[in-house]
Symmetry: D2
């Protein structure tokens, strides 16, 4: 189904931008998991809008209410549902969109698919606002992963032409990731961050928008998670990450540049680090044959420039079957990349946690049949 | 589950490189679908090894036997299972791999995951040979899509440093794709193809290997296929494509370069072409909000260089927990990109057909409740 | 997953008896489906407690709030989530149950499964109260099925020793079912209903409880729904019906008595009724090989007597590992059968609607490949 | 999908009665599981036809070939596919069935569903022959369950009017079940078995057929398997058991008779047996709230009389839309109940094993978050 993800940690995201609420229903969390609601709120706040001049002026607290599944701060084994009320809605802004689709948005294909019955207000179920419940699930997943010794963090690798550089694939570690998590604008080089913010403000004043690339890493993931073929970690992460609006590509490890190397340069040599098997380089991004190797799991996701721009654009009138210009009003981020960083971390965490739960039936030393 | 894909056209791929057989079990094909076995065989032959100096010398006919689901050349509504016998196996080549994992292969993580019980011969279930049953399913899917007016074809965009250029995203059409399908070495510019072949042979004589990028397009896909969030066409295609060994990245439409454009340049303007809604450019690659727009669906997949190279490499002895050099023998492709082209087409076709079947419950003009 | 049902009409039921809310998240409803909320409320009211002396005194309005998926009274194609606030909770009644499990309830196995972290208040996620969101989904399904010409209704076949008789399997029709739906106490013979009510009140005054059998029929279901093997209509209905607490058995058509007949007496002879194929008897209950035949679909479900009784019972102290008597306080139905009637109808409707959506990919006269 | 079952131990059954082969593809078996092929063959032989005068004269060895997933007698973590060649086919016997459907068979609804493209020979995918691959999966599941200390066996509770009595629900133990497994005609009282055989032969000579009831028990199942609502053990077992052709009903524990008891008599009192929680009676059949309690899991399944009888029956000509008599030729069991006994055991075993694998993500004492 369209808005459901996962095998053993399964979540369904519901809601539309201007519905009474958005939210998530989660199944598969073991009973007894403590959920630290304060830390979850801090995580959600990283995604929330209205924090600075480079984000949309729509302000909503994004405070989830857990209506089921938690008892005295712990999961009880039943499905966990959390909702976030939509309070700051201005649906009048969107009245024209059923007839005149916005370039770069889902308006037109949704019109065809749903025969005109889709919720057009604010992009409906396609709105970036739906990444808030994704972050509820992801924030909980991050809390569990932390207890397994796993740290997940992402940085803004580029915005428009400004480049922050990449992680050292083999060398990225928990300390570096935790430092990133403390930054309000997570980049490896703060000067790059300043240039990025300047570029966003320039685009905004130009009634335009920018995209970028987010690089995400998880360290501490043990070897052996993931499955061959369609259940590989790349498949799982990619299926999740493309659920974030505006993502146009994903690459693991060295990614597309791997296609230009020779095998002798691309292959990652094994060595023993004490009793741990490691690779000297990490072009493989911590995944081989779909299964984690114990090296850092690293991927990059390309985010297209925000489709909503205040400039006049070419569109059509679907009812009159003629070309028609369009001007979009409303409140929009000139660049969603900064707010997408925790969403990408949430995506990584959800995919990892599900893979962890799936790995439970594999052979173990004490399996009664061995 | 790991080796299963799809919601309404569901397939499970089974087999190991040196097991008695490999094959596929498919569910969800409607009854009455004619399967042209001759054309299917021609499609499988495009993937088969042993065709020229640039592929492995392992020769196997890859002739599927349909043991269930077909009656007099048509599907009967029951699951369709086809098997390919493994005849040309040389399992002695692989005895050492349980202890000394090959760089770039799944040997090590599989050893951890399966506790040493995995089938190591020829890569077992991780072998590229498993793309043969994928092509059985894909070849059937292509036959159905053809009847829906859809053409799917891919070309080799690059091998190592040699670049063939990209499709004209908005202009690619069925005629261009059909011309590609007739080429034994599918490139847009044949001179690029000659350079690629030379590069492959040079790598081979250098005991090395090359990777590349494959670009795949589908034209004729109507608007309205795919679902929001995790059921989007990108999610579906990516989950399938990463099931092909050696894929390291995927991008849709303009892909990663989209991250460097401004919104005003990236957004695809709508216009009416007669009574059809089209976009002047196709940076979105035929998909918005996860749903097809009617424009060509285009993606690119990065293939890493073949991990099996004849050079001495650094590895470890897992039993002795020490570094140990490794030399790989056996027969391997110096570059799998040419043989991966039909596999990528198969992947696109399977994802499209499943999405088509899934689109069946959406609103239609004659739904009794409208 | 435990609380999720369905392939194409998929619902997840969440909530616990004394959580902030209970509810349901539904996927797969086509866009544009009108939902008549007044009729839905009437349907829910049939299940609601507190209506008479034969039900529990816990009174709650069971008024659903649709927080997503509906726009101006119609589905919009996005997941539909409805919640019912729990207002009348008295969790103090249940404090002892973590240590001293109630006979006939899930307390003990839940304690083992969830390690003591389950929500014990009011039975938590195991409470019969969770049938309210099931009825939300079922009530919507019934509205769609009605537009497809299908009528679903159930009657109380027996309560304790009082028997109402069975449907005429081949003769039951829409008029008879609609008459049942108008009855506050749905029985075929009203005098049997009076006896049943008297038996319930007698059990109540005896601090005891009663069970019964519910027989449910659907007429107007066309031939061809359902799938062979594990996707058969019996499999689908049974998987749903056993999701209702207290169900101990299900049988289709003639059911268990079929095991005592000879084939010549059990087989249902075919005949033509105009241009419609019918069977003279309907021992098969409208399903052969898992697929509907066009005859009425009929099943019976056995409901055990309410496990909560006010009498002193034998139990154990789990913490002290010794036998311990138990007295249950709280408000309980002496017989849940009357309130379970709409729940069983909801179950039938959900299973049918899902099968209808699944049937969409089968061969049709205008399939392009035929 | 129709012929797929299971969440974590997932199997797809393929093949038709007269296709080249029938078989099963299984996913989710951990790596390293030894499969004793001799014992598996012995289990399959219990189901095989042609053993005596009371079964069909179609003789086939039912010898599975494992084409994938096994290496040196153990699972390797990849999907396991086994096929059984159909050798003794006589498809000419069934030519007429596309037009003139057999009463009690799936011919007519399959004709509607598949538009005439279904495989009619021998019942195609609906044939009882498809229970052979079910027994392959079930036989392997039984071998794993045995290592977990679980014994599964069924007896023929009744055939036609002859009754063998029921298990002592609370008292049935492994020794009693193992004794049953050694009997060629598994009944509690051998004199009942003799009467049953006589009844079958009488029905056969009368050109008629008989049905019956099979009662199945599993002992040694620990408390805590299964999930609430739709993932309960009853739901799981019922969804599997209705995949066996001819099953018309299923009941757990006391079953339908529970509907006639009062709560005070039906509730099973808890007591401590050493440090084990047990119930004095076992009306609940080892399952409460969908979760196992540690008491024997017991269900009963009703098998209708064989639909294929040699007598002239009433049917219709679908092409001519008129009533038409029908005489069925071919080889059929006058009563399938004896051969269905191992199939029912296989069904129980598959459902249990899948539930066991699903239970893996629940809370455990050493979970890092507790």
């Amino acid at each position: 189904m369209s808005s459901t993800y996962g095998e053993r940690f399964r979540l369904t995201i519901f809601g539309q931008s201007h519905a009474p609420a958005i939210g998530v229903t989660m199944e598969g969390l073991p009973a007894g998991v403590p959920v630290d609601l304060d830390r979850l709120q801090q995580f959600l706040d990283r995604r929330a809008p209205g924090q600075s001049r480079i984000t949309t002026s729509r302000k909503e607290p994004d405070a989830p209410e857990f209506v089921s599944g938690l008892v005295e701060g712990r999961t009880c084994g039943a499905p966990v549902t959390a909702i976030i009320r939509n309070t700051n809605t201005r649906s009048g802004d969107y009245a024209n969109l059923r007839d005149c689709p916005r370039p770069g948005h889902a308006d037109y294909p949704a019109q065809v698919k749903y025969g005109g019955y889709q919720d057009v207000a604010g992009g409906g179920h396609f709105s970036g606002r739906l990444t808030a419940p994704l972050c509820i699930a992801g924030g909980i997943a991050l809390q569990l992963l932390e207890k397994l010794g796993i740290t997940v963090a992402a940085h803004i690798q580029s915005i428009g032409p400004v480049d922050d550089g990449r992680f050292d694939l083999a060398g990225v570690d928990a300390a570096q990731l935790q430092a990133l998590l403390r930054k309000p604008f997570p980049v490896l080089r703060d000067e790059a961050g300043d240039e990025m913010k300047a570029a966003i403000l320039a685009a905004k004043s130009d009634l335009d928008s920018l995209g970028g690339v987010i690089e995400c890493a998880a360290v501490g993931v043990p070897a052996g998670w993931g499955d061959p073929m369609f259940g590989g970690m790349e498949n799982r992460i990619a299926q999740m990450v493309f659920g974030i609006p505006a993502i146009r590509g994903i690459e693991f490890g060295l990614g597309f540049p791997a296609a230009r190397l020779t095998g002798s340069r691309h292959n990652d040599a094994y060595y023993m680090d004490g009793d741990t098997v490691k690779t000297r380089t990490n072009h493989h991004g911590g995944i081989l044959g779909g299964i984690t190797t114990g090296m850092p799991v690293v991927f990059r996701a390309a985010v297209k420039p925000t489709a909503s721009i205040a400039r006049r654009q070419e569109s059509v009138s679907l009812s009159e079957q003629r070309d028609a210009p369009l001007e979009i009003h409303g409140r929009h981020d000139p660049c969603i990349v900064p707010r997408a960083v925790p969403v990408v971390e949430a995506a990584m965490a959800i995919a990892l946690l599900d893979a962890y739960f799936c790995a439970g039936t594999n052979t173990t030393p004490d399996a009664p049949w061995l």
